[in-house]
Amino acid sequence: MTPNMIVTVDARGISKTYGDGENAVQAVRSTTFTANAGELIALVGPSGSGKTTLLAMLGGLLTPSEGSLTVGGVALTAEGNSKLAQFRRERVGFVFQGSNLLPYLTARRNLLAVAEIGGRTNGDPKEVADRLLDEMGLMERAKAYPSEMSGGERQRVAIARALMNDPALILLDEPTANLDTTRGRQVVEMLQSEVKQRNKTALMVTHDLRMAEYASRTLRIEDGVVTEV
C-alpha cells in the first residue's frame, strides 16, 4: 500500500454464521482483507461459496458474527437497523444483478429517488443526476421507464444510481449476468472508468472471468474463505 492510499474497506477476521448449535452454518470464515480507493475488485467463487454474504456484510445488510469491519470509516460490527440504513444511504452504492430499478420511475427519477430517501448528493440532486446520465450516455433516455430500456441501459442507469450519493464503496452483484458479452464489457468498462475517475472503491461479484480481467485485483472465495488470486 502506498503511503497516500485511502483504505475504504478494512475487514479483520470477519465471519458470518447462520443458525446455532448443530444447525450452524458458517458462510464466511475468518476473512481479512482491505480495499482501497481507486480499486475495482472482482470477487469470484462458485455458487454457495459465501459471495453474497460477504457482499451483504460490506454493504451493511448483515453484520459479522465475529471480527471487525470498517467501511468508509464506519465500524459495522454492531450497528442497529436505522444506523445501517443511514450507512447505506451515505457510504454505499449498490448495483444489483437485474438492475432492480424501480419500474414506476423514469431513469432520471430512479437517480433522484436516492436523494429523496435521504441520500446526500455532492451538489444539487437534479444537476448530479443529469451529469451522471450524461456521463453514462443516457441523457436521451432520461425520461424512459426501465421497461422501455435495454438490459445494458438499465445497468448503466443502475451504476449511475449507485454513484448518486457519492459513495465510498460501490458493490455490484453480478452486474453483467443478464447481458451479452459486448454489453457486459461496455458496462464494466464504464464502471472501471468511473472508479478511476472518481477514486471510488468497487467490489464486483462475478461468475464471468472475462469481466474479472477488468479488475485491478481479484479475490476468490470458496467455502467461506477469501484468498487473493
Binding site: 450507512f87 447505506r88 444489483f96 444483478q97 432492480n100 420511475l105 429517488a113 430517501i117
Partner: protein, 366 residues
C-alpha cells in the same frame, strides 16, 4: 415524489381503488344525509326554538303531545325568578282539507313579537292577537303548490277552520310534521274550542338566568323543564333512529377501511421486492410507509371529493318525501372519519413493510 410517480405509473390499478373509495364514500355520505334528514323530520324546529329552557307540565314527560298548561301556570312561569323573556307556545296536529294524502301538519300557536315568533322568510309578520292568518313553512307551500295570499282549510275536532297564508318561514319540521305558525289564540280554538277553562299552551319558552331548567320547576309546582336540545332528544324514536343511522354509517366506514386496507396490503405484497431494493439503498421503513400513507391519503381525498357532489346531486334529485339532508358539519365529520379509517386500514401494510429484509434485493431480478 416516489409515491405520486407510482400513482401515475399504476394509474389503472389506483383508479380502480379510487372508484371503490368513491363508492364507499358515496354510501357513507348518503347514510349520513339520511340520518340527518330523519333527524330533521323529527323536529329541527324544536331544536331551533330560541329559548334557554322549555317548560312543560310535569306529568307530560317532556311530551309535546301530552303537555298542557293552564293560564295561571303560564303566568307563574313567566313571572318566575330569573326569567327575562318568555312566550307561550301551543302545538296541535291538524289535517288540511286539500291534499289530505300529504298527511297532517303541525299548527304551532305563538305570541307575535316574542321569542316564540319564527323568523320570517317572505310576506309579513303576524300582528299581536291577529287570528285567522298563518305563516306557513316553505315546505308546506312548496309541497302543496300554495303561496302568500292563498287560504287553507284545516280540520280539528271535526270542525273546519280557514286561514290565510300571510308569510312563509323556514324553521324546519316539528315532530315529524310540516308546521304552520299561527296565533296562540287560534291554537286554543283548534285544540280546545271555546272552553274558557281549557289549557292555554303546550309549553312556555323562557330565557334569562343560566339555571332556568332547574329553577323554574322549583319555583312553579307542577312543571318540568328541559333545553330545546333535550326536548328534541326525548321525542320518541329519535335516539333509536339516530343510533341506527350511526351504526349503518359505522359499518360503511369499517367496510371501507377493510377494502382499502386489503387493496394496499395486496399491493404491498406485490411490491416486496421493490421495497427490499428501496431499503437496500438506504430507505427506512418509515419512509416507505409514508409513501403508502400519501397514496392512501390522495386516493381517499379524490374519492371523497368525487362522492361529495355526487351525494348533493342525488339528494336534490330524489323526491322530497325521502328524508335526506346534507349538513356540512356532519358530512365533513364523515369525510374525516373515512380518511381516518382508510389510514387505519393500511396499518397492516405498514407492519409488512417493516418486516421486509433489504437482503432480498441481492440475488433477485426485476
Amino acid at each position: 415524489m416516489i409515491a405520486i410517480d407510482e400513482l401515475w405509473y399504476r394509474r389503472g390499478q389506483f383508479a380502480l381503488i379510487g372508484l371503490i373509495v368513491t363508492l364507499v364514500a358515496y354510501l357513507v355520505f348518503m347514510i349520513n344525509a339520511l340520518g340527518a334528514g330523519l333527524l330533521d323530520q323529527a323536529g329541527s324546529a324544536v331544536k331551533g326554538l330560541n329559548a334557554d329552557a322549555l317548560v312543560f307540565a310535569d306529568n307530560a314527560n317532556l311530551s309535546l303531545q301530552q303537555s298542557e298548561l293552564a293560564a295561571e301556570t303560564v303566568a307563574e312561569i313567566k313571572a318566575a325568578p330569573g326569567v327575562e323573556q318568555s312566550s307561550a307556545l301551543g302545538y296541535v296536529s291538524v289535517q288540511p282539507s286539500e291534499q289530505p294524502e300529504k298527511g297532517p301538519v303541525a299548527f304551532l300557536g305563538f305570541e307575535a313579537g316574542t321569542i316564540s315568533a319564527p323568523a320570517l322568510r317572505e310576506g309579513r309578520e303576524l300582528e299581536a292577537g291577529e287570528t285567522g292568518a298563518v305563516l306557513a313553512d316553505k315546505r308546506f307551500v312548496e309541497e302543496r303548490g300554495l303561496g302568500i295570499g292563498d287560504t287553507i282549510e284545516v280540520s280539528s275536532r271535526l270542525q273546519l277552520y280557514t286561514f290565510e297564508i300571510v308569510g312563509t318561514v323556514d324553521e324546519g319540521p316539528f315532530f315529524f310534521q310540516t308546521p304552520i305558525w299561527g296565533a296562540i289564540e287560534d291554537f286554543r280554538l283548534l285544540k280546545y274550542g271555546d272552553d274558557p277553562d281549557a289549557p292555554v299552551a303546550t309549553l312556555v319558552m323562557v330565557s334569562g338566568a343560566a339555571d332556568l331548567v332547574e329553577s323554574v320547576p322549583a319555583d312553579v309546582p307542577g312543571t318540568e323543564a328541559a333545553t330545546p336540545g333535550q326536548t328534541f332528544n326525548s321525542i320518541p324514536g329519535v335516539s333509536a333512529q339516530q343510533g341506527t343511522a350511526n351504526a349503518i354509517q359505522g359499518f360503511g366506514l369499517a367496510i371501507g377501511a377493510m377494502v382499502i386496507g386489503v387493496f394496499f396490503y395486496v399491493l404491498t405484497l406485490q411490491k416486496v421486492g421493490q421495497i427490499g431494493v428501496l431499503k437496500a439503498i438506504g430507505a427506512s421503513s418509515w419512509f416507505v410507509f409514508r409513501q403508502l400513507l400519501l397514496q392512501v391519503f390522495i386516493i381517499s381525498i379524490i374519492g371523497i371529493v368525487i362522492a361529495l357532489p355526487l351525494t348533493i346531486v342525488t339528494v336534490n334529485l330524489l323526491p322530497s318525501n325521502v328524508p335526506l339532508l346534507v349538513e356540512r358539519d356532519k358530512i365533513l365529520m364523515a369525510a374525516i372519519l373515512l380518511l381516518g379509517t382508510a389510514v387505519i386500514g393500511v396499518l397492516f401494510s405498514g407492519r409488512r413493510i417493516a418486516t421486509v429484509d433489504p437482503l432480498i434485493a441481492l440475488g433477485q431480478q426485476q
